[in-house]
């Protein structure tokens, strides 16, 4: 009997152990990023929770438009997507504050239906099915990266207009037959900004070493090679590939160093890999510039004094004097020091303007209109279509000015944003 008492006490403890963080987690979603930035006082008067209550009164009479969002909130890709969730919610709030999405004289309040893609193709399939079958949504934002492999067929079959944050260039994700697929940011265009910035600020660079995560690389390879050529550079040696799930990136760094390139270009990967390689390269005494998509404070925080000679693209910071107005507004809606990936929020922003341009809530009408548009506002300024030939679709993939910064000795210097080259 003493045993059973023990067991029941344990059970209660276990349940508490499981439930308390769950509940705490629900309430504290906003705070997840503030915790990683100790210097919150510099933010200035930026109410994080006051805003929704004030807008609720004005939007109360509006009808709502549900927009699906697929993000991976659990498992490995959540390193990216957990932050995206917060920002896309801010963008929705921003749209609602501005009076929602206006279609045929009516205003629709945006309500996001966020589903967890679980960082796997299976999880994304389930999420897409849930949005399409259960919620009967007509517009979906996301998912990011190669997860579109799983979701594109479902959306196409059900004629759901879907705007991916970013994709893996796999033909199964977007091709001439996927007429409902749109893309918030064309990855090749984005990378052209990296090379352009590199050439601009380091004119002596003649060749670059390309280091990339291996799984998605085959699809990107020809485009990256063409891009290097278009920018007037050459590749130093063959591309260096590494597994997504390596622990130690020093061997990769040593390999890059052995090529002795003028600069290093890392177009695909996630933060841990970038940081690992940069740290390794700097330790080895490699002096040349390194370019990759960054979040400036994260880079400085994680790399310390190894953060030098970095040409970063896509860092969004309030102190950036060149920052586009919508992006600045987004940053000020929460802790401005948080890490903004800004891909899914941008996709939602694009979608809003496309719907308004088409003046319809029918995905097919919106699609037909969107295919005729050549300019749309984005969070980063004026967007333009890119990669029409690459995807075989007119105006489905979009690009926009890219933020650029130089990081030297742990100090960030913001540079004018670069207008990337249009991908054919």
């Amino acid at each position: 009997m003493k045993k059973t008492a023990w067991v029941s006490v344990l059970m209660v403890l276990m349940i508490l152990l499981a439930v308390v963080p769950a509940l705490a987690g629900c309430g504290k979603a906003e705070e997840t990023t503030t915790t990683s930035a100790p210097t919150q006082t510099t933010a200035g008067p930026t109410p994080t929770t006051a805003a929704p209550s004030s807008t609720e009164t004005t939007t109360a009479q509006m009808e709502t438009l549900q927009i699906g969002v697929i993000l991976s909130l659990t498992d490995w890709f959540s390193v990216v997507d957990a932050a995206e969730k917060m920002d896309i919610e801010y963008v929705a709030q921003m749209i609602n504050e501005d009076g929602g999405i206006k279609v045929q004289g009516k205003s629709y309040k945006v309500e996001l239906v966020i589903e967890d893609g679980k960082s796997s193709l299976d999880g994304n399939t389930a999420a897409a099915n849930k949005l399409v079958l259960d919620k009967k949504l007509k517009f979906v934002v996301g998912p990011g990266a190669f997860f579109n492999l799983a979701t594109t067929p479902i959306f196409e079959q059900n004629k759901v207009l879907h705007v991916a944050n970013y994709n893996g260039l796999n033909p199964a994700e977007m091709n001439k037959d996927t007429r409902y697929a749109f893309l918030g940011l064309d990855p090749i265009t984005q990378q052209s900004a990296a090379l352009k910035a590199l050439k601009l600020y380091y004119p002596n660079v003649k060749n670059v070493a390309l280091a990339s995560e291996d799984a998605t690389f085959p699809a990107f390879e020809p485009h990256f090679r063409a891009l290097v050529e278009r920018t007037g550079l050459t590749l130093a040696g063959e591309p260096i590939l590494y597994a997504t799930q390596a622990e130690d990136y020093n061997p990769i760094a040593a390999k890059i160093k052995a090529l002795n390139p003028d600069a290093v270009w890392m177009p695909i990967g996630i933060d841990p890999t970038y940081f690992g390689i940069v740290k390794g390269l700097r330790t080895l005494g490699y002096q040349g510039p390194i370019t990759f998509p960054v979040d400036a404070p994260s880079v400085v925080g994680a790399l310390g004094d190894s953060a030098t000679g970095i040409v970063g693209i896509l860092s969004k910071q309030v102190e950036d004097p060149y920052i586009a107005a919508p992006m600045k507004r987004l940053l000020l809606m929460g802790d401005p020091k948080r890490h903004v990936f800004g891909l899914a929020p941008n996709a939602l922003y694009l979608l809003k303007h496309a719907i308004e341009a088409a003046d319809s809530l029918d995905p097919t009408v919106v699609r037909d209109k969107w295919e005729t548009l050549t300019s749309l506002p984005t969070l980063y300024g004026d967007g333009f279509p890119s990669g029409n030939q690459l995807y075989g679709l007119p105006n489905h993939a979009w690009a926009h000015p890219i933020p650029v910064c130089l990081i030297n000795d742990g100090k960030v210097e913001y540079k004018p944003w670069i207008l990337p080259d249009v991908t054919p």
Binding site: V7, L10, M11, M14, I15, A18, V19, P21, A22, G25, C26, L73, T74, S78, A82, I114, E115, D116, S119, S120, L121, D122, T125, A126, N129, K130, L133, D134, F146, L149, A150, T152, P153, I154, Q157, G168, N170, P171, A172, E173, D214, A215, T216, P218, A243, T244, Q245
Partner: protein
């Protein structure tokens, strides 16, 4: 304690000692209520698409059917005393054997699905061969590693396998989900029938005998290695078949659906349901897949807490899984019942 030598350094009870053929001995009258419940369930599931056609729950149920078969096939391997941590890999072999010809050669799904099942069976049996001399925890560790190697090979396969991102564009079998529902449901019924037949056949009893004591089994002329490989081949056939159908249904094949994590969850389904009972895997899938999907999906990032809590509760309160607990309860009830009628049962 003369048999001390045959117990390995770690004295681990991998497959609980269930009485051989205990369930065969059940009297017919006791099986009746169970059968009628089963029949009712089959009927409800067969008619369900009329009500939920085109809803998300249909997707969940289709997945459920797949995983019931896969978890059951793992349990079939386990009745021969083999704690095989490579079942996900066998499923993956089936899936990729179907997906690669489908994507690159545009073969019909009706060809690639059987191909996947056969490939998984053959590869499964071949790979089982060198491991058949291992027992208990050595076998578990060896197969765990085997699964890891298979997934690594898939991941290193370059464009052919799509590497860690997965292979997209696998041709669908049907355009209507209802057909998938009936296909998966039908396959589940047939597979479960086959497995039931095997488990309670002579071969199944032999496998259980091997699980309890390979020496005793050998002494009565049961070929250990042969029966163990047979169990793995049988299990991997169903795992491969379901893997192949699964990848055609999802339209993609990706290594992380078949890796160590996926395999461990399949095993968790069985352990939660009860490894000692034929219906354990089905109940486990219901507990760990259907319940979270139906009722807790909106928790999103917090969903793992629910599954962890389920695991802990079961581990603490039901050592033999849910079905084990139910069985203990019905046994107690029926014993009390019988005691009222007939007194003085022989021990």
């Amino acid at each position: 304690m003369s048999d001390m030598t045959e117990i390995d350094t770690t004295d681990i009870r991998l497959v609980p000692e269930s009485a051989v053929g205990q369930e065969v001995a059940q009297t017919k009258s006791r099986r009746w209520p169970g059968l009628s419940v089963l029949g009712g369930l089959v009927l409800v599931l067969a008619l369900l698409p009329l009500g939920i056609s085109g809803s998300y729950y249909m997707h969940v149920l289709i997945l459920t059917f797949f995983y019931v078969v896969i978890a059951s096939s793992w349990r079939v391997v386990s009745i021969s005393g083999q704690f095989n941590i490579a079942i996900g890999a066998f499923m993956g072999i089936g899936a990729y054997a179907a997906a690669i010809p489908s994507v690159w050669l545009h073969w019909s799904p009706w060809v690639t699905i059987p191909l996947g099942a056969v490939a998984a069976t053959i590869v499964g049996a071949l790979l089982a061969y060198p491991f058949a001399r291992l027992r208990t925890i050595y076998y578990a560790m060896g197969t765990l590693f085997l699964g890891y190697v298979v997934i690594n090979l898939i991941t290193a396969g370059g464009k052919t396998t799509g590497m860690s991102t997965g292979l997209g564009g696998v041709e669908p079998l049907f355009s209507d989900r209802t057909y998938y529902y009936y296909l998966a449901f039908g396959l589940m019924l047939v597979s479960l029938a086959c497995m039931y037949r095997l488990e309670f056949s002579r071969i199944g009893v032999r496998m259980k005998a091997i699980a309890q004591s390979h020496q005793v089994a050998a002494s009565v002329g049961i070929g250990e290695r042969r029966n163990r490989i047979l169990a793995v081949a049988f299990g991997s056939f169903f795992a491969g078949l379901m893997g192949a159908v699964y990848c055609h249904y999802q339209g993609v094949a990706s290594p992380n659906s078949y890796g160590l994590g996926a395999t461990l969850w399949i095993i968790m389904y069985v352990l939660v349901g009860g490894i000692n009972s034929f219906w354990g895997p089905a109940v486990g899938v219901g507990m760990l897949l259907v319940i979270p999907e139906f009722f807790f999906r909106d928790l999103k990032g917090n969903l793992p807490y629910v599954t962890a809590a389920i695991l802990l509760i079961i581990a603490f309160t039901m050592p033999e899984g849910i079905v084990g607990l139910l069985k203990a309860i019905t046994d107690r009830v029926s014993r009390r019942f019988r005691r009222g009628e007939v007194s003085g049962d022989a021990p």
